[in-house]
Symmetry: C2
């Protein structure tokens, strides 16, 4: 296997963090997003949505999309589990991972990609260009703040996002909170549970390797 | 188990279709979206993103988000498989299901939810209201057309979206193409492969039960 990635970008960080937690080592190939390497035909032949991370399998095929890559690696390398111990656990992990992505991750991306001059024409991940929409910048910030409130409420009920165990959902949530620094949004004093959870997660050795090396 | 659903809405259709393919029967409870029942505190206590479908498990907990529900039901009721026969198959299904959702489903929703008077304040699924953004209507239509081109290209290479077998990715893609009728977008004459695939899928008995009964 080989991972096509771009170190420091938030979606690849979700997969790289899983690799560190599981002690998986594999060759990594940098796709330089700043040079548009992801949009070149040779990479699009591997990754139909022109995005990293993309995983090359040993049978010569390719998988993109973080949930697909992470569930595949969980199947192949079950220990330590990052989707809990039962089908019910796994369902909850996928649910909270998805909510972190849809309501958190994409909200930060909405602000960044619709405001940055460097991302003109690129408000959405994928092969197609669109015009930036300035109204999405304000809406994205509202969404990020609502996300902090919602996830703070969840963490008032539960030690980790999917229950009483660390999981892929926490990886996505934590990476999202870091990604929010790029747009200068952070959980506030009122988000007591979210901040306590961030402190707890930040002590995992993987964080230093994946996040703090940026 | 019990499924909270709203018949005829596209996200619930993805799960209801899986149930029909697998021959699973369970009680269904209608959450009337037109009356705002999904936004009431009693339902939000079950479904944190205030959305259907939501699945009540026998242990008293709840799972929302289509990928979480469908992978859970695949675990519990493996036959007939809707995620293929191997971890590699499953990864490809999750990948194409995710792309159908992100680039297809959400693009149609973007048009509908930012233009409909009945959806003022509701451009996004979830508990929070936001203003509609008219610029998203045109962008959403561009995205839907790009989706038809992209998936037509994929289906030029492959009998079904994830490979040579029918899967959850086809369910999501087909439901998306039907959902696009709501905004009067459909694959064109040039989308030969996509239309041949639609014809093939439309002959499955589940389609009549889930889609055509609307």
């Amino acid at each position: 296997m080989r991972l096509y990635t771009y170190p420091g970008a938030p979606s690849p960080q979700r997969v790289e963090w899983l690799l560190v937690e599981k002690g998986i080592e594999m060759p990594m190939e940098k796709v330089d997003l700043t040079q548009g390497e992801h949009l070149r035909p040779e990479f699009r032949a591997k990754s139909p949505n022109a995005d990293v991370p993309t995983l090359a399998l040993d049978d010569g095929t390719f998988i993109s999309q973080v949930p697909a890559i992470c569930l595949y690696l969980e199947d192949r390398f079950p220990e330590p589990p990052l989707y809990g111990q039962s089908p019910e656990d796994r369902a909850r992990v996928i649910m909270w991972d998805h909510l972190g992505y849809i309501n958190g991750f994409r909200a930060v991306a909405e602000v960044l990609r619709n405001s940055s001059r460097a991302m003109q024409g690129r408000p959405l991940v994928g092969p197609h260009n669109y015009d930036q929409i300035p109204a999405l910048v304000d809406r994205g910030r509202q969404r990020v703040r609502n996300f902090f409130n919602d996830f703070n409420g969840r963490l008032a009920q539960s030690d980790y996002l999917a229950g009483d165990f660390f999981s892929m959902a926490d990886i996505t949530g934590y990476v999202m909170c870091n990604f929010a620094r790029w747009i200068k949004e952070q959980p506030g004093e009122e988000h007591v549970h979210l901040r306590a959870w961030q402190d707890k997660i930040s002590q995992r050795p993987a964080v230093e390797k994946v996040i703090q090396r940026r």
